[in-house]
Amino acid sequence: MRRLAVILLAGALLNGGCERRAPRDDVPSPRVVSFSPAITEMLFDMGLGDHVVGVTRYCILPEGVRRPVVGSQLNIRAEPILAVNPDVLLAQTAPKHFETVRKLSPHICIAHFRIETLADIGVAMARIAEIVRRPDIGRRAKAEFLAKLKNVREKVAGLNRPRVIFVTGYKNPLAAGRATFINELIELAGGVNAAGEKYSGWKRASIESILRLAPDVVVCEAGPATVDEARRYFEKLTASGGTKVRVCTVTDRRWTIPTGWIADRAAGRMARFIHPELRPGGGE
């Protein structure tokens, strides 16, 4: 009980808290509304989907699973939220947007998460599980998450570090600079984020800037309809330089959303993009 309080207090101090730190004691299986696609994903990945009673319009649910839609990040209304009678509300949006909900039902715990770095993902998993009273699941999920990342880190340890640029879209590419978790992912997977030398955050990069950053690997996230053109475009663009640049494309939007999926899929694939000589590991 005291450890729970300490963890939650720490979480609240780190990530901003709410008035009610935890669901009421007399609720063994809290009903959870998730106001963030990343958090929804984490809940279902950890097998805590039964607790979920409400999601946003943009949350991606597992195959065949349905949950009531109670709004979206830009459309926060108390009535649909309260209609599903939640005990807990998890969000990445600032708590002040849920004022009405709090006033109408002070017993609801509203927990705010900041999930921007890889470390945040692990912390969020643990905290989510604590809040729904299944701390052991959270601890295990976090440990697995960190272990997968460590696995990738070890595989690329000692290898040379090629220069990597990650962009979304190809006609108006947005490059991932410093202070994005893609930056961490690249570093983790044994590369150097070339765009991070110039930009911070996600910035619109001109062709010349991309070329001037002299990447060895370009990873482009594009929609399924345009992914082939995107690959061809970057291959043609980088063909004139002296060195051969490897162009890799991905189509899954989840590359840009920090969730546990990053460790499951993205980290390993990124490592193989950067170091194609690596053999695929388990679970990829």
């Binding site: 319009r57 943009y58 979206s72 990040q73 830009l74 459309n75 879209g169 190809y170 006609k171 108006n172 490059a175 600079g177 110039k198 930009y199 911070s200 910035k203 619109r204 990069a205 001109s206 062709i207 010349e208 800037s209 070329l211 001037r212 929609g223 399924p224 309809a225 345009t226 475009y233 043609k236 663009l237 004139s240 939007r253 840009t256």
Partner: protein, 335 residues
């Protein structure tokens, strides 16, 4: 009454030709300067990319400037600009609809942003015409009102569709809405060629009707009695400006201020003769946007802000400059 010579001398074909040639040379010079600016290991490849980009900026700038001039003449209103016919808001509806539907349906390969923007723009044009026309004829007042109303309606449509759009797509849409000269035409110049053809053709048509626009400035009745087919000219202008503006928005999104300011500034310095203005505005618009776009490219070079959308630059430059120009004119009038 002494027999004073008629002064100043009238506009002649020779003057127009000299003007055309001079502006052509100036534009080429500006294009060259823009493509060479900020060279850093300037390879043939990079230079080619920059030239395509300058060409796109020139086409868009000319389209917007000439479109703005034509509408100002047609509606007898120096504050008219190409987007009042609903083109940009219609393009926005098309693009946003595509973004929203892409998550639910697998859209066909050809439904790219430029195509959707074109579709939305032309559809809106047709709606504005349908609303404004009476027995196949357009009155300036009704046309203006229809354009305004359809713009408002499209704005509401956009707000509605935004409810069904993912936040990431929303940000993408806002980026599009600020306008950006495309950088990828070196790889696939089809859109540029089509747009350039339409814009140059439309520009020529508007130039050729310059004298008729001059007469139109004296009133529909006076123009008609001078030999201008007013209704035919109105229809023609509507179609031409819609097409040119739709192509500009398809290429670069809705870049603001160029269509309003460039013709107006040219008019302040050169007088209201549309024959001269048609030539000059087009070139000045092209050069202005080339310079603004190069500036955006340099910002990415000098700072870590990334490329600013060129629409931001045209607004930040155009707005205050226009205000200064107007105030200078007020002071001259008052003096």
């Amino acid at each position: 009454m002494t027999d004073l010579p008629v002064q100043p001398p009238a506009l002649t074909g020779r003057k127009l030709a000299i003007c055309l040639l001079g502006l052509l040379l100036a534009s080429v010079a500006v294009a060259a300067a823009c493509s060479l600016a900020g060279q850093y290991r300037l390879t043939a490849e990079i230079w080619r990319i920059r030239l395509y980009r300058a060409a796109a900026a020139a086409v868009v700038g000319a389209a917007l400037a000439v479109g703005g001039l034509a509408l100002q003449g047609l509606l007898r209103n120096p504050l008219a600009e190409p987007y009042i016919l609903g083109i940009s808001s219609g393009a926005g509806v098309g693009v946003l609809l595509g973004l929203a539907l892409a998550t639910r349906l697998a859209l066909p390969r050809w439904s790219t942003t430029p195509f959707l923007s074109l579709l939305g723009a032309l559809a809106t044009s047709a709606v504005v015409y349908g609303v404004a026309q009476r027995r196949g004829r357009l009155s300036p007042y009704v046309l203006l009102l229809s354009g305004v109303m359809i713009n408002v309606f499209n704005g509401a449509l956009i707000l509605a569709i935004l409810q069904f759009t993912r936040p990431t797509d929303m940000i993408h849409f806002i980026g599009w809405g600020m306008g950006q000269v495309p950088e990828w035409l070196w790889d696939d110049p089809v859109l540029l060629i089509v747009a350039a053809t339409i814009v140059i053709g439309g520009w020529f048509v508007m130039f050729v009707h310059g004298a008729a626009f001059n007469a139109l400035g004296l009133g529909d009745d006076v123009a008609a009695s001078s030999g201008v087919s007013v209704h035919r000219l109105r229809m023609l202008t509507f179609v031409v400006v819609s097409l040119m503006t739709a192509m500009a928005v398809a290429l670069a999104g809705p870049i603001g201020f160029v269509g309003l300011i460039v013709p107006h500034v040219c008019r302040i310095f050169l007088g209201p003769d549309h024959r001269l203005l048609a030539i000059v505005s087009g070139f000045v618009g092209a050069m202005f946007l080339m310079a603004a776009d190069t500036f955006c490219r340099m910002i990415d070079r000098w700072t870590d802000l990334g490329e600013l959308p060129v629409g931001v630059i045209t607004a930040l430059v155009g707005g205050p400059f226009f205000i200064w120009l107007l105030r200078r004119r007020f002071r001259e009038d008052a003096a």
